[in-house]
Amino acid sequence: MVRFLRRLLGLITLAAVAAGAAVVLRRRVGGSRERVDLYFEDGAMTSFEEGSPDADRMLGFAREVIAAARAG
């Protein structure tokens, strides 16, 4: 009985660690995606994910801004 409980506890711990690692990994991968968020005066907001033509165009300009800022 004690051995069974120890195994069960071990499995639960392993599952909790795996779930935590999955959450951290998902956040890191999701957080590093390139995107453009536009905010308008009336409170509307539009978001563009990398891969769309509009996003890629604005991302190109943003890279120019970053390059200009870091070159100075």
Partner: protein, 142 residues
């Protein structure tokens, strides 16, 4: 306090901001954290091109003008906030606290507007309980 001081205050307050430029509506550079004018001009031009592209992008809803934007790239993030008269653009490292950066940039624009005397009403100082009581007593006596 001039525009350069406004930007200096911005970078002191917000440690996440690496560089920033304050641009007038006509495209002229009012102030920049970069040392030489050429670099500042290049940064301002690139920021305006970004704003132009953002204005031309399709939108999902609403009709108001663009007031702020954030672009997240692998190299870092770009923030732009603007009012009718000025645009402030800033570059941060990747994964900044966006809300704080936007707040600091808006404060920067307000300070620049106050410095140039836009004639816009400034926020009134909070009245203390004592001052409020004096105001009430004054109204009663008159």
């Amino acid at each position: 306090m001039d525009a350069a001081q406004v930007l200096k205050d911005l970078t002191e307050i917000s440690s996440q901001i690496e560089a920033a430029v304050l641009v007038a509506a006509d495209g002229s550079v009012l102030a920049a954290t970069l040392q030489d004018d050429t670099s500042a001009g290049r940064l301002a031009t690139a920021a305006q091109a970004l704003v132009g592209a953002a204005e031309g992008a399709p939108r999902e809803s609403g009709e108001g003008p663009l007031v702020q934007l954030e672009v997240a790239t692998m190299e870092g993030n770009v923030f732009v906030v603007r009012d009718g008269e000025r645009v402030v653009a800033a570059v941060t490292s990747a994964d900044p606290t966006a809300g704080l950066v936007f707040y600091d940039l808006k404060s920067c624009l307000r300070a620049a507007a106050a410095e140039q005397g836009d004639g816009k009403p400034r926020p009134r100082a909070r009245r203390t309980r004592k001052a409020a009581a004096e105001g009430v007593s004054g109204e009663i006596s008159s």
